[in-house]
């Protein structure tokens, strides 16, 4: 039986921005539309933070709404559910959307799609709360549409984005259809695993199928591209749809390719001359790092990956906001010249430095402990992986300061108009900075929350308690888990629901949950 929250936070968090999108769509006055969008995004943010706090009071692994509309309609209480993994994600996402809307200048309102942004917020919140595989696939597919519409509105070519995302949807649908109909034969599970793995690689932007990301950043508005990527719904989808059902080789592929992508993107970020492409590669490097970390099978590494997931979302959104704010003042930024804007925009310069350093896990920022845990988790079992993570982080650090120097120093910027940041921008800056530094100086609550989630996830993996497709392959005794299976135990053939931890030596099988639906609920 899934626990209940005290209020229908999840549904409100989805319906509010949806309502806001409709109202914004009918509002001709852009300034008024902006205020409406801010109001609805702010209310959504409050609701999702309330949901996170409420979830903390419930003290359960997962929970659903109190007055669950979907339960009333479908008779199922396990469609919109939050768990230890996803509890902070809607709150983080809503905050990011609110800050992006808040930091949008009046001069950019004509081109920034307010209604589509609120629609995206609604879809993203729904995605991050959804535990039904088919509904999740539908939501992931729908969440592509706002970005696609915007590209079309701006008269840009949609082919690269459409081809990649279309392929993602087709592969995901086909793969999951095979999983749904799987009779347990090796060929069926192998094919579905291949399809799902390919879909995961596409959505996560793993090299070499990452070009749609740079294309999106170059052609869409910066805010839209930022909000499409930074909530990392791709990683969420991989955790919920792909990892539970694919065998060891597929996970191994995703993990290795993510790691290579992290290093490659870090290198590419260091040589970019266009600020948007630079940011895209920087983000790709970090998101790949999170994805490879999520496949770690020790609790420290997984805790680190979950911490980095949150810190990177927060830090890189803030970093992107500063680039966006600078772009709003001087146009597209080229990193092959110096701008010297620190004198005119000291606040933005400060935020840019804080957020950039936070993303690489600089001490005293929110990213530090997460990165430390992640590398510690890797070094403990896979020193080479730890080495690559550290090199990626070092390269990213060099790239970030290089970009900072290019944008904010190096010359005197001559201008006849004031470039100072506006109050709304300053508010965003202060909120983000306080979150980043506060989380860095007092990391224990956040880390403890992510640690709890990591422990629960590994416990589920160990026991197979939440596996609806496969019988648990391990006894429920806490003493018997994949990690304390004898090291030379023979490998079991791959079968639905049984997978190998990607970084674990292949001799050690691990059972993953097919979804995060509990057996009890499946039986109902």
């Amino acid at each position: 039986m899934i626990s209940e929250l005290h209020l229908p936070w999840l549904e409100i968090g989805i319906l509010l921005p949806l309502l806001g999108a409709v109202i914004c769509g009918f509002t001709r006055n852009r300034l008024r539309g902006h205020r409406i969008a801010l109001l609805f995004a702010g209310l959504t943010s409050v609701c999702t933070i309330g949901e996170w706090i409420d979830f903390g009071t419930v003290q359960a692994f997962e929970a659903h709404d109190h007055w669950d509309l979907l339960q009333w309609l479908t008779g199922r209480s396990d469609i919109l559910v939050i768990d230890e993994l996803s509890a902070p994600l809607p709150a983080l996402t809503s905050l990011l959307f609110l800050l992006v809307l808040l930091a949008t200048l009046r001069t950019k309102l004509e081109r920034f799609p307010l209604s589509l942004t609120l629609l995206s917020l609604s879809l993203t919140n729904a995605t991050l709360s959804c535990h039904d595989p088919w509904l999740l696939i539908i939501l992931l597919s729908l969440s592509i549409l706002p970005a696609l519409f915007e590209l079309r509105q701006r008269g840009q070519s949609t082919r690269v984005f459409a081809i990649h995302m279309g392929l993602f949807i087709v592969l995901l649908l086909a793969g999951w259809a095979l999983v749904d109909r799987s009779d347990g034969t090796a060929s069926a599970s192998g094919l579905s695993a291949a399809l799902l793995t390919a879909a995961a690689l596409l959505r996560a932007g793993v090299a070499p199928v990452h070009c749609w990301m740079t294309d999106l950043f170059e052609k869409a508005s910066f805010g839209t591209a930022l909000l499409f990527l930074t909530p990392m719904t791709g990683a969420y989808a991989v955790m919920h749809l792909v990892f539970p059902v694919v065998p060891g080789w597929a996970m191994h592929s995703i993990a290795v390719l993510s790691l290579i992508t992290s290093l490659y993107a870090a290198g590419m970020a260091a040589v970019q001359t266009d600020a948007r492409r630079f940011f895209c590669f920087l983000f790709l490097s970090h998101s790949s790092l999170v994805l490879s970390g999520l496949e770690l099978v020790n609790v420290i590494g997984l805790t680190g990956a979950l911490c980095v997931w949150l810190s990177v979302g927060l830090s890189l959104t803030g970093y992107g906001l500063t680039i966006r704010a600078v772009e709003a003042r001087i146009g597209r930024i080229q990193l092959n010249r110096y701008y010297g804007l620190a004198e005119h925009t000291p606040t933005l310069a400060g935020l840019s430095l804080i957020t950039g350093l936070s993303s690489i896990g600089f001490p005293g920022t929110i990213g530090f402990v997460g990165m430390e845990l992640l590398v510690e988790g890797c070094v403990e079992f896979y020193p080479l992986v730890g080495l690559i993570l550290v090199i990626s982080s070092a390269l990213n650090g060099i790239s970030i300061l290089r970009a900072w120097f290019r944008i904010f120093t190096g010359c005197r910027f001559q201008t006849s108009v004031s470039l100072r940041s506006r109050p709304a921008e300053r508010f965003s800056v202060v909120v983000l900075s306080l979150l980043i530094i506060g989380g860095g100086l007092w990391p224990q609550p956040g880390v403890a929350s992510r640690h709890h989630a990591a422990v629960e996830l590994l416990r589920l993996k160990d026991r197979g308690l939440f596996d609806i497709d496969a019988e648990p392959t391990q006894p429920e005794s806490p003493a018997v888990g994949p990690l304390n299976t004898p090291k030379n135990a023979p490998a079991t053939p791959s079968q639905p629901g049984t997978a190998y931890a990607a970084w674990q030596p292949l001799a050690t099988p691990v059972t993953f949950p097919a979804t995060f639906r509990s057996v009890d609920n499946a039986a109902q």
Partner: protein, 481 residues
């Protein structure tokens, strides 16, 4: 009592950083006098606290005082066991007195012993002198608040590093020192030269920091906690035997040596030291003449028990120190500007200190560091007055160069090449650029071009946006001369 004093030592610079940082973030302007007084207050209170600690230690004949601020981050072990994780944690994982359930902990622990107390006091004294000097030197400079903000970062980093009781805490301070150094090298941010050199310094630091992070986490894994006391057994510095095997000591030691080489500008990273002199004179004096450049040697001193575990490691430390010493001696004698000359003169002493550490000495390098730091600070803060001093000397003694010209003294031709090698600082930076940075950057730029073409082809557009603007990103990092 000692705990309160220890906390005071660490908290005073931290509070200064937070105050100056928040004021800058919230755009609260502070007058120069207030900034100077805040800095002086932090320095004096920290110094008094450290003096009090020293007095208490001398009276009570205590050689090792540990001050723990508790676990900054703590993950309980019980949960990990539920997850089925094997108990790979060795017996010595837990710090004495720590609850047994701690699985991963990041302890904020500070140690006051015969290494850290002199280093902390030296840091406070030199930073106090330099802050007083800088408040006049940078009077009415528009970057005055920025300088003192970065300076407070540096002070905090140095104190955290000096008094660190765990390797993670040392890493925390180490990183702060690196960032503040790079930002202060680029202090005159309206010009390209300082900015490019700041980036160069930062790049070297990041690479060295990567090695340090790996070493810290490997050590944490091997010894269980990253605690220096745990690593060195029961003995206080400089006694104590490392509890890890010689092979592990070699691995961790090599990583730490790499990190120390980056921080102390040992070969092949010596190129950043003269570049760092682009910053204002006060920062050059305190960072690259006195404190920051000694941090690598401090790390090696702190990890002394580890070095003693591996003879090969000690030999490598000696070789690195000696080779840097020979190189720096040649370079220092032929530099054409006073700050570069002083930078290499500083490097000679640092490399000698490293050599002494490699030979197993502990107290002599420590005394050498303190003496050298004080002397070099004085030299560097007097560097701007050098011309005045020089003219006074010439007026009093006559011009030695003119006298040499009259006698027809000139360098033999066979020394010209050696002279140029030394003058060009061994071409270390161009070599790193040519053989490491350039090939990697060229491969990445080729990938970038291919990606752009592929995306353009998919879009149905033959034009590759932005390709024409691609530049060689490393070119401006190379400082000519």
């Amino acid at each position: 009592m000692l705990s309160i004093l220890g906390i005071c030592v660490v908290v005073s610079p931290l509070l200064l950083t937070l105050t100056l940082g928040l004021c800058m973030l919230l755009r609260i302007p502070l007058r120069e006098r207030i900034i100077s007084r805040l800095t002086s207050t932090a320095v004096v209170s920290g110094l008094l606290a450290s003096l009090a600690i020293l007095a208490v230690m001398l009276i009570s004949d205590s050689r090792h005082v540990a001050v723990s601020a508790g676990d900054w981050v703590r993950l309980p072990e019980t949960a990990a066991r539920h997850a089925g994780e094997p108990d790979t944690v060795p017996e010595h994982h837990h710090t004495p007195g720590r609850p047994a359930e701690a699985h991963f902990h990041f302890t904020l622990k500070f140690v006051f012993d015969r290494l850290s107390v002199p280093f902390v006091m030296m840091t406070f004294v030199l930073c106090g002198v330099i802050s007083a000097f800088a408040s006049r030197y940078l009077h009415r400079d528009e970057g005055f608040p920025r300088f003192f903000l970065f300076f407070s970062f540096f002070l905090t980093g140095m104190i955290l590093s000096s008094a660190a009781g765990t390797i993670e805490t040392l890493f925390f301070g180490w990183e702060l020192v690196g960032l503040s150094s790079a930002l202060l090298v680029a202090f005159f941010q309206d010009r390209r030269g300082p900015v490019q050199n700041g980036l160069r310094v930062w790049s070297i630091y990041r690479i060295a920091d990567a090695a340090f992070l790996l070493a810290a986490l490997t050590l944490h894994h091997l010894s269980g906690s990253g605690d220096f006391a745990g690593l060195a057994g029961q003995g206080s510095w400089p006694e104590g035997d490392a509890i890890i095997s010689p092979d592990s000591a070699l691995l961790v030691g090599l990583l730490l040596l790499f990190a120390a080489a980056g921080k102390s500008a040992l070969i092949p990273f010596s190129g950043w030291l003269p570049r760092a002199m682009e910053g204002p004179t006060p920062s050059s004096a305190v960072f690259y003449g006195a404190l920051s450049v000694h941090l690598g040697a401090f790390l090696l001193l702190r990890m002394g028990p580890l070095l003693e575990e591996s003879l090969l490691l000690q030999v490598l430390v000696v070789l690195l120190g000696l080779s840097t010493c020979v190189f720096a001696t040649m370079a220092a004698r032929v530099q054409s500007d006073i700050k570069s000359s002083l930078a290499f003169a500083s490097l000679i002493q640092v490399s000698l200190i490293v050599t002494e550490i490699g030979f197993g000495l502990r107290y002599i390098p420590l005394i050498h560091i303190i003496g050298h730091a004080c002397f070099r600070t004085l030299q560097l803060v007097r560097a701007p007055s050098l011309l005045k001093d020089y003219n006074s000397l010439i007026n009093a003694l006559g011009d030695p160069e003119a006298a040499a010209a009259k006698l027809g003294v000139s360098a033999p031709a066979r020394e010209t090449r050696l002279y140029r090698f030394a003058f060009d600082r061994g071409n270390l930076d161009p070599l790193l650029d040519e053989y490491i940075v350039r090939p990697v950057a060229a491969a990445l730029l080729w990938s970038d071009r291919m990606e752009r073409r592929w995306t353009a082809w998919l879009s149905g557009n033959s034009r590759t946006a932005g390709e024409e603007t691609a530049i060689q990103p490393w070119t401006d990092q190379t400082m000519s001369g």
